[in-house]
Symmetry: C2
């Protein structure tokens, strides 16, 4: 398998964690989002992934974009250890937590959006940072409520093994810290983030440990 | 089952289509996103769904937010007709198309974001509309490329039966039309949207046909 990745992309970070949890080795292909006017915008990368976003997983004939689709694919093709629970209600809960991050939070704050705010809308640095923190606060605040009020929460987001929700949570928390977001009202999010980061699968997937880290 | 919905919410629209395709009846509970300062922000609704977004599906003990998580839950608990193909690569393709809409396009343009741009960032009406069209153009443009260049595309996004990708496509196209986006470069998107809208399951789920339509 090959993974097109950028060390700082939190969507690629999710997939790196999933690959590590599954014990799958892969070739790391760096796509630099800032160099050459954005390597993800090149014709050759767009032919592979028309969204011009990382990550992309190549597994034989399968070429898959979208981090959550990739993680579900890995879970279906390499079932152990499972990244989703077995029961439909549990699976729905885990997917809803993951999507609260991957749909409602991260897409509002990724690089292309921040660039649009700065260059096309010409908003100030302060307004851009306020925007960033606003969506993190709403998104991770909702995740905190989902985790804190449910008996299904364990050492990790769902029970006592890491899975799809956790591998979305950790990269989002890393982004939040990078932008100095206040996480003090989110003790469950912080506890689970810390538990995850003790695991080698998460540690090896961290931005600073990637071959293209700067 | 009960569905908390708002007629104009494209995320709720997706779930309404899924319920109709499965032939499942449900109680429609309107959550007005504009009245009472936004009924989705009420304490009682947030207790049900901490994201303060629609839709929410209640099925016995299961309370599920996030439209894609709901649709996967319905597909697991009521397998026929299937909304995802059987093979992992096909499932990944369908999920990637769905997520290109549900993660990369729609969250940038939903009501709370447009409100933030207008009230908190005080951008002009023109700048807000340019923002809207920019993300529709990128998102649906990527979907067009994914559809037009793949032999897996049939009468619908994947083969000749409607599924998860189609039920994301149609509400996004409806939004695009509402904001006068130019879809002329997206013939495959337009063709599949038209094919879907001929089906009763899609027609009955349309915003204008909901009990809370205005």
């Amino acid at each position: 398998m090959q993974l097109y990745s950028y060390f700082r992309s939190s969507a690629a970070y999710r997939v790196r964690i999933a690959l590590n949890l599954k014990g799958l080795s892969y070739e790391y292909l760096g796509v630099h989002l800032l160099k050459d006017g954005g390597q993800q915008l090149s014709e050759s990368y767009r032919a592979l992934n028309p969204t011009a976003l990382v990550p992309t997983l190549v597994d034989g004939d399968a070429i898959i974009g979208q981090s959550l689709a990739i993680v579900e694919y890995l879970d279906e093709t390499h079932p152990q250890p499972a990244l989703l629970p077995a029961d439909p209600a549990g699976r729905a809960r885990v997917r809803a937590i993951a999507q609260t991050i991957a749909c409602d939070t991260h897409p509002l704050n990724n690089l292309r959006v921040l660039k649009y705010l700065k260059h096309d809308m010409q908003v100030s640095e302060d307004a851009k940072n306020a925007w960033y923190r606003h969506w993190v606060n709403l998104g991770l605040g909702a995740v905190e409520a989902m985790l804190a009020h449910s008996p299904a929460t364990g050492s990790f987001c769902h029970g006592d093994a890491p899975g799809l929700a956790d591998l979305c949570l950790v990269p989002q928390v890393a982004n939040a810290r990078r932008f100095d977001c206040d996480l003090s009202a989110m003790p469950t999010v912080q506890r689970i983030d810390a538990a995850c980061r003790k695991l080698q699968a998460f540690e090896l997937a961290a931005p600073d440990n990637q071959p293209d880290a700067e």
